[in-house]
């Protein structure tokens, strides 16, 4: 039986290298942009409108550090798995296992939240057209299954779709900005009347940092595409930095428009704030545009998440950190098809738990844990392989200031999560601690030791 099968007569199998910097931009921004259409406004709920703007820029600084650090390490360690592979080469196996889990969890949970948004949008669309009892479940499932199917069939079509719909969603924010007559206060925008003092004082500003991550969460996922992009060392820093600039602009526009139209108490709990903003403007064209754009943003995000989560899960499988079964690549489409398929029921089940805020907190916290890791990672990377000992595609300036800034901001964001979401924080930490103990005691024995280190680097200093 086995002899009839096609086997490794020729070269080993590998993923297709077909992507360019625009795809990287689309992967990064695509995942995040949905955050400007929903979710970012929870910062307003935690600290008021001004707190949200401060959080937007402070967390923007956090992510600028992330993008700088990540670009340097990724331009040198370019492999599917991204930060997971970095951790494996620089910190060690247990850290790598945890980073792999952060990635899979952050993206799968985010994908579930995105699919829920598509479902809710369909429901409110149906309500506008006079049908009030639409079941959201089929649309949630279709979103996940359709995007998984795209991902299964090949990365090029997947990310080209993302490029188109992400660009359209971004343009809709720009159109919205110009349609509120931004230069003339009081005509449409009412900042003077609507903006209040900080309702919780400065502690509210700190507390709002938690959801401030929603403005940018996922931009670091760009390096998951490292095995599929042409000249990764150049494309990934380019796509990531470009994406970061797009997001800073988008986040500021979003805040400006929304804070000028809605009282903060409403904004702080709205499910689709930008769609509500368009509704307030009273133009049905704008309303339709924001409806479509929100859907596009959610789909682009779910799409990028499936792409990133499956690459991370695949890499864990390939190194036997997770069952080796998931380390397979499709011989025709060259995608990690088993990982893609495996994550479909998981994402759907997360969406159906009905615990949206819990799922979002899990996603944010997994992201935050991986940024904390980046600080140790960067400092050890420069120490173990000083500049000049290996070739780096990109060297970020002012080391170690970005790493220290990042660590400080991470600590502030843990504290922000503690304010209001302390129980979730502890239960999520319990998950990672139990998973780590299990890895050390039961799982690591299946891992080949030296095979994990695949970079052609000299021996690290001090080891």
């Amino acid at each position: 039986m086995a002899s009839e099968k096609i086997s490794s007569s020729s070269k080993p199998i590998a993923m297709l290298k077909v992507l360019n910097p625009f795809h990287i931009w689309a992967l990064g921004v695509g995942i995040v942009l949905v955050g400007e259409f929903m979710g970012w406004n929870f910062t307003v709920g935690k600290g008021g409108a001004y707190a949200s703007l401060i959080a937007c820029w402070v967390i923007g600084l956090l992510y600028t550090c992330v993008a700088m650090i990540d670009s340097e390490v990724t331009s040198t360690v370019a492999a599917a798995g991204g930060q997971y592979t970095q951790a494996k080469h620089i910190i060690g196996p247990l850290m790598a296992f945890n980073v792999g889990l952060y990635l899979v969890m952050a993206y799968t949970m985010l994908c579930a939240a995105d699919a829920l948004v598509v479902g809710d949008l369909m429901k409110s669309g149906a309500e506008v057209m006079g049908y009030t009892s639409l079941d959201t479940k089929p649309f949630v499932v279709l979103t996940v299954v359709f995007l998984a199917w795209l991902n299964y069939r090949g990365v090029f079509a997947t990310l080209t779709l993302n490029l188109v719909i992400t660009f359209l969603a971004f343009m809709s924010l720009v159109v919205l900005f110009f349609s509120v007559d931004p230069l003339h206060q009081g005509v449409v925008l009412q900042h003077e009347g609507l903006l209040t003092d900080l309702p919780y004082g400065w502690i509210g500003v700190v507390a709002s940092l938690q959801f401030g991550m929603w403005y940018y969460l996922g931009i670091e996922g760009t390096c998951q595409a490292a095995e599929e992009v042409r000249s990764a060392g150049r494309s990934i820093p380019l796509g990531t930095m470009g994406g970061m600039m797009t997001l800073l602009v988008a986040a500021t526009i979003t805040w400006f428009v929304a804070a000028g139209l809605m009282p903060w108490q409403y904004l702080g709990q709205a499910v689709t704030p930008m769609y509500d903003a368009a509704t307030l403007l009273g133009s049905s064209q704008l309303q339709l545009m924001l409806f479509v754009a929100t859907a596009f943003a959610a789909i682009a995000s779910a799409n990028g998440c499936i792409n990133d989560a499956s690459r991370a899960w695949f890499s864990l499988g390939r190194d036997r950190y997770m069952p080796v079964f998931f380390g397979a690549i499709h011989p025709k489409y060259r995608t990690p098809y088993r990982s893609v398929l495996f994550l479909v029921p998981i994402a759907i089940s997360f969406a159906f738990t009905g615990l949206l805020d819990q799922v979002i907190t899990f996603s944010i916290l997994s992201g935050l844990l991986s940024y904390t890791f980046m600080t140790f990672n960067m400092i050890k990377f420069r120490k173990m392989w000083p500049l000049g000992s290996i070739h780096r595609g990109y060297i970020h300036p002012f080391h170690p200031i970005p790493a220290i800034t990042l660590l400080t901001l991470c600590c502030a964001t843990y504290f922000a999560t503690f304010l209001g979401y302390g129980a979730s924080l502890l239960s999520i930490m319990a998950f990672y601690i139990l998973a780590s103990i299990w890895f050390v005691l039961r799982r690591y024995k299946y891992v080949k030791r030296a095979d994990q280190f695949t970079m052609p680097w000299p021996r690290p200093k001090g080891y």
């Binding site: 951790a87 196996p93 239960s427 930490m429 601690i433 299946y446 030791r449």
Partner: protein, 130 residues
Amino acid sequence: MNKNYTPPNQGMFGQIFDTILVLVLVYSSLMLPLLFKAAAKAEDAAAAAATAVKATWESLGQNAVQQAQWIKLGYDPDKAASLINSRFDYTIDPVMLIITIVVVGGYFWFMLKVSDKEYREVIREKFDNK
């Protein structure tokens, strides 16, 4: 030089078991905070019942511009009151804060420590026993 470590191969059953185990852990940590929340919800409901009085825009502290936007959004004072009056409680419980700091700090300390030990073994195999 000592021999390189050769890992055992994991059977199909073991692979399925490990996958399910991780999933069970994830779902339990998603569900766990619900236990805390159920208790907090009951308290909230009691507090809300106690403060239920007829709300007006003035009693909610909304100025003319804010009122106009609330009305455009389809809210009357009663409906808006639940949004305006629900506030986060940012009083810090020092014991909980210390527990959280110890948990997060301890987690990273444990992880760096164990990772370093495992990493030294990887480097030894990779560069010493070619």
